[in-house]
Structures are given as structure tokens and as C-alpha cells.
């Protein structure tokens, strides 16, 4: 039991060292990771949070309300507007 536990700990240690040493030895990779983190921060902490709310999740509390709203959007008399995507 102890041997098994020791070998598992050893494996986890080896994996940890593998990643740690890998990251330490990076040169170009450090710059790339910085770009990735800045990009993710801009995407999730700025764009998603301030500019891209989920419209239905934000404005309605339940799925029933969301479904009713979408059905409402699908069923008015669709007259009086022109499709902007029409052919040339």
C-alpha cells in the first residue's frame, strides 16, 4: 500500500518537475504566454464582461421567459421591413 502511494507521489513529482522545468527553460515561450494571458484578460475581463452580455440570460430569469420572448420574435406579422441581405 505504502509502495503504491510512494510511486504515485513519485509520478506526480516527476510530472510537476517536467512542467516546472519546461516552463523555466522557455525563452520565446515566455513572450507567447504573456500574449496569451493579456489576450484572455482582454477577452474575458473586458469584452465579455462589459460588451458581450448574454442577451437572454441577462434580461430573463427563466427558460420559460426566454422561450416566450423568442416565440414572440418569431410570430409578429413580419410585414413592413426589407431584408438587407437580398441579392444584387
Amino acid at each position: 500500500m505504502n509502495e503504491q502511494s510512494n510511486s504515485q507521489t513519485g509520478l506526480l513529482k516527476r510530472i510537476y518537475h517536467f512542467y516546472r522545468d519546461g516552463f523555466r527553460q522557455m525563452t520565446l515561450g515566455r513572450t507567447l504566454w504573456k500574449i496569451i494571458f493579456i489576450k484572455l484578460f482582454i477577452m474575458f475581463a473586458v469584452l465579455k464582461f462589459f460588451f458581450f452580455p448574454d442577451f437572454l440570460a441577462t434580461n430573463f430569469a427563466t427558460d420559460k421567459q426566454r422561450a416566450d420572448y423568442v416565440i414572440e420574435q418569431l410570430t409578429p406579422s413580419a410585414q413592413g421591413y426589407t431584408n438587407p441581405v437580398q441579392g444584387e
Binding site: Y19, L28, L47, F52, F55, V70, P76, Y81, P84, V85
Partner: protein, 511 residues
């Protein structure tokens, strides 16, 4: 309400989606394609034990890493846009795409987090066999991560295996296999992945040609070219074949799209494929002006492509808009009539349910089910609205076809002169070779324009036009985020090009 929709918003939202998708697609095909080519380089290194192949593999791996790092997560923005700009669509297809896309994201993340690390950090630290396995898994994982998004796109063009539930306002999946293995989805996946390998091969050829022209890293460049040109040749021929299969599928399920690709207004028997043409941008589907100011066509080829038969009839845009009784083609005008019945019965069903009148609700539901396949046509105002932008579809399609035909010839040229041992002397080929990656990107972007512009005005073919799929937002809101994305993605692209150029200048690590 639809009557109050700001139409400018729809076009800005479409523009924003196109911008995001096209920027995203600058990175994706290189990641998909280069990962497979690197797997072959790595395999040759493991088989030969040659340090030169190791150096070569590490070099291309580094460029792959740059592209991956800059491109990673750019596709997530598309999901933001679904929730904000396209909330009706997002709600309506949530049952079909939600879970598979989430599972795909998780699997791709774990595959990449595990094997990416081994691929990059594993040199001399894990066994050669396991290291190679990790490289192949990165290639497989990259392609797998594209499966569901392409299945989703294929479903929007050919919405099989679903039923619309008027209670929940959702398209609900009825048959998983029909969705996942629809011929349209299979073609889309094979076409996207094989063309990506082609892009990866062109990337290697462009950089290697540049090295050869400057007399730098000559051995590495020559070896890189031989493998890339071989894989690129296979990939480009395969791409032509599955592209032809895609065209056949489009002819069956989106005939309007095919007619727009070819600028075919009047249906024809033994229809010709336009080899080269200058399309008349002023031409409308309802007038008799000439469709082309100049064209050269190959007789019978469009019929062969569309129906696998030379003499067969290919419907034109006029047949599809106004109908053609001789060939039993229902026009958009007739479909609109049925679609409006579907919309009206859906409205009546909703009111009957609200009034708790189950008998009336059942009657309206039965009517809706009779006409539901034409639901989307109920939102069109004129039959001509079913025609996509013809000039853009035509030009993008022909640019893609021209370049797609050119690429195998380029690979053959590179292989021929490589085997003859005279490649370094062929400055004209090497000079042209340095720009082939740009041509590849033009072809692949044109491919997406063909796929997405050609299917307008539909978000979901025949069922949901873009004007109904959108969220009721103001134009200003979408304009703001459009320009934010333009700036963000342009900065990322500049970062990619700057870092990539620097690394190419540095070249592979010396032994």
C-alpha cells in the same frame, strides 16, 4: 418586434461575425495543417536519429507554437457574439450544439494541455517513442477540435435530424447520427482539414524557398520542401476531390447557392462551368441584362458537377425564385406563401395556448407542422430576397477554384526539381514559392466567403433568415464592438507576423 428592427444592426452584426471568423481562420488552418507536417518530420527524426531532422522538427515546431499561441481562443469571440448579437439563433439551436461544443472544448483543452507540453518540453526528457506519440496526438487533437464546429456549420446549411418545438422555440435534436454524420458535415470536415494541410505545406514551402534564395539553411530547407510538397500534393488533390463532392451536395440541398457561384440566372441542360468570367454587377434576377460582360465556359461541366450527368438540367436563380413547372421546381414565391402560413399558424398556436384552448392549439399545430419546412420563407418580403450576393459569391468561388487548381501544379514543380536536384537553381519558382502561403490564405478565406455569403439570407437554410436570428440591439452597440475587435485582432496579427518574421530570420537552432 421584427417591424422595429434596426436593419443596420443586422448588417453590422454580420460584418462583425465575418471579421471575427476570417481573422480566426488566419490562424486555424496553419495550426491544423502544420501539426500534421511536423508529425511527419518528427517521425523521420525518430526513424533516422539524424540531428538535422531533429533541428528541422524543432524549428517548425517553434513556428507552430507561435501561431498556436497567437490564435488560441480567438474563436471564443464568436461564441460571445452568438449570445449578444444573435440571441434568437443561439437560443433556437442551443439543444443541438450546446453540449457537443462544450464537450469538444473540454476534450480539446485536456488533449492540448497534456500533449502540447510533452511535445514542446519532451526533448531528451521523455522516451523518443512517447514524445513522437505526443506530437501525433497534438495533430489529431487539433483536427478533432474542429469537428463539432464544422458539424454545426454543416447543420446550418443542411438542417437534418431536428424538429422545431413551438413550446420551447428550439430546434431539438431527433437523430444524433443524422446530424453528426450528414454527408454535408463529412464533406465540410474533410475539405477543411485537407485544405488546412495544404496551407501548412504552402507555409513550409514559402519559408524554405526564402531560405534557399538567400542560401541559408539550405539542407534544412530542401528536406522540409520534399516532405511538405509530397504531403501538400496529396492534400491538394484530395481537396479538389472533396471540393467536387461538396459542390454536388450544394447542388442537391442549396441549389440557389450553386447558381450564385456560377452566375447562372437561367436554368440550363448541359450547363457549362465558367472557367473565367467578368460578372455584371448590375444584373438583377428579374431583368434580362446579360449576366457576364465576358466569359469562357466549359460545356456540360456544371451539369456533371451538380448532377453527375452531362446532359442534366441545372436550375438557375430565376427558376429558383419564380419556380419552373417543367422541372417541378418550387419558387421562392410559392415557398413564401407556405412560410407565411407556418408563421401565422405558429402565432395562432401561441394565442390558443395562452387562451387555454387546447383544441384550437392542436389544429394550429397541425397546420404549422404541414408548412414548417418553409418557416424561414415566411419572413421574406419579396421572392428575390432568397438570392445571395451573386458577384461576391461568383468571384470568391472562382478565385478559390483557380488557386485550388494551381496548388497541385506548384507542389509537382517543387517535387520534380527537388528530385532532379536543381531546385536551388530555379529562382523563378523559389521566388513565386515565397508568396504561395499568401495565395493559400486567399484561397481558404475565399472558401469561407463561398460557404457563408453563398447561403445568405439564411442563418439556418430555409428555416431562419439572418433578420430573425439577430438580437434586437441598436447599430451603435455593434459598431463599437466591431471596431474593438478590428483593433484587437489587428494587434494580434501584427504580433504574430513580427514574432514569426523574427524567428524565421533567426532560423533553426545551431547544433
Amino acid at each position: 418586434m421584427i417591424e422595429n428592427v434596426d436593419l443596420g444592426m443586422v448588417n453590422w452584426a454580420r460584418g462583425q461575425f465575418a471579421l471575427t471568423a476570417m481573422y480566426h481562420w488566419l490562424f486555424v488552418p496553419l495550426t491544423l495543417g502544420l501539426s500534421w507536417i511536423i508529425a511527419f518530420y518528427h517521425t523521420i527524426y525518430v526513424k533516422t536519429g539524424s540531428e538535422e531532422w531533429k533541428r528541422l522538427t524543432k524549428f517548425w515546431m517553434k513556428l507552430f507554437g507561435i501561431n498556436f499561441a497567437i490564435g488560441v481562443a480567438t474563436g471564443i469571440i464568436l461564441e460571445f457574439e452568438f449570445g449578444t448579437n444573435w440571441s434568437n439563433y443561439s437560443w433556437m439551436v442551443g439543444d443541438i450544439f450546446g453540449a457537443p461544443l462544450a464537450i469538444e472544448g473540454i476534450i480539446a483543452f485536456f488533449l492540448e494541455a497534456t500533449f502540447f507540453a510533452v511535445m514542446f518540453f519532451g526533448w531528451n526528457r521523455v522516451s523518443k517513442g512517447f514524445h513522437l506519440f505526443a506530437t501525433w496526438m497534438v495533430a489529431a487533437g487539433s483536427s478533432l477540435s474542429a469537428v463539432w464546429i464544422l458539424v454545426a456549420n454543416a447543420w446550418m446549411q443542411y438542417p437534418v435530424g431536428q424538429a422545431f418545438n413551438p413550446e420551447t422555440a428550439r430546434f431539438e435534436m431527433q437523430n444524433f447520427a443524422e446530424v453528426a454524420f450528414s454527408p454535408y458535415a463529412i464533406n465540410k470536415f474533410t475539405h477543411a482539414t485537407s485544405s488546412s494541410m495544404l496551407i501548412g505545406a504552402l507555409f513550409v514551402i514559402s519559408i524554405s524557398s526564402w531560405y534557399l534564395l538567400r542560401g541559408r539553411h539550405v539542407l534544412m530547407a530542401k528536406r522540409s520542401i520534399v516532405v511538405a510538397a509530397t504531403l501538400g500534393l496529396f492534400a491538394s488533390v484530395f481537396t479538389i476531390f472533396n471540393g467536387d463532392e461538396s459542390a454536388y451536395e450544394i447542388a442537391q440541398v442549396q441549389p440557389m447557392k450553386l447558381a450564385a457561384f456560377e452566375g447562372l440566372y437561367e436554368g440550363q441542360k448541359n450547363a457549362g462551368l465558367v472557367a473565367f468570367g467578368i460578372i455584371n454587377r448590375e444584373k438583377k434576377v428579374y431583368d434580362d441584362r446579360d449576366a457576364f460582360s465576358f466569359q469562357i465556359h466549359i460545356p456540360g461541366m456544371l451539369s456533371l458537377m451538380a448532377n453527375r450527368s452531362f446532359g442534366s438540367f441545372v436550375p438557375g436563380m430565376k427558376d429558383l425564385v419564380y419556380g419552373n413547372a417543367e422541372y417541378n421546381i418550387l419558387g421562392s414565391a410559392q415557398k413564401m406563401d407556405r412560410g407565411k402560413k407556418a408563421v401565422a399558424s405558429l402565432d395562432a398556436y401561441k394565442k390558443a395556448k395562452k387562451a387555454d384552448d387546447q383544441a384550437a392549439a392542436d389544429v394550429h399545430l397541425a397546420t404549422f407542422n404541414t408548412y414548417k419546412d418553409y418557416l424561414g420563407y415566411g419572413y421574406l418580403q419579396k421572392p428575390e430576397e432568397a438570392v445571395p450576393p451573386v458577384a461576391l459569391s461568383f468571384n470568391a468561388f472562382h478565385v478559390m477554384i483557380f488557386l485550388g487548381t494551381l496548388f497541385p501544379l506548384i507542389f509537382i514543380g517543387y517535387l520534380y526539381f527537388s528530385l532532379k536536384g536543381t531546385l536551388v537553381e530555379k529562382k523563378w519558382l523559389l521566388g513565386f514559392g515565397t508568396i504561395t502561403y499568401i495565395l493559400g490564405m486567399i484561397a481558404t478565406q475565399a472558401g469561407w466567403i463561398v460557404a457563408e455569403v453563398g447561403r445568405q439570407p439564411w442563418t439556418i437554410q430555409g428555416l431562419l433568415p439572418v433578420t430573425v436570428a439577430r438580437t434586437n440591439l441598436t447599430t451603435g452597440t455593434v459598431q463599437t464592438t466591431f471596431f474593438m475587435f478590428l483593433v484587437l485582432f489587428t494587434l494580434l496579427l501584427i504580433a504574430e507576423i513580427t514574432i514569426m518574421v523574427k524567428q524565421v530570420n533567426i532560423g533553426p537552432e545551431e547544433n
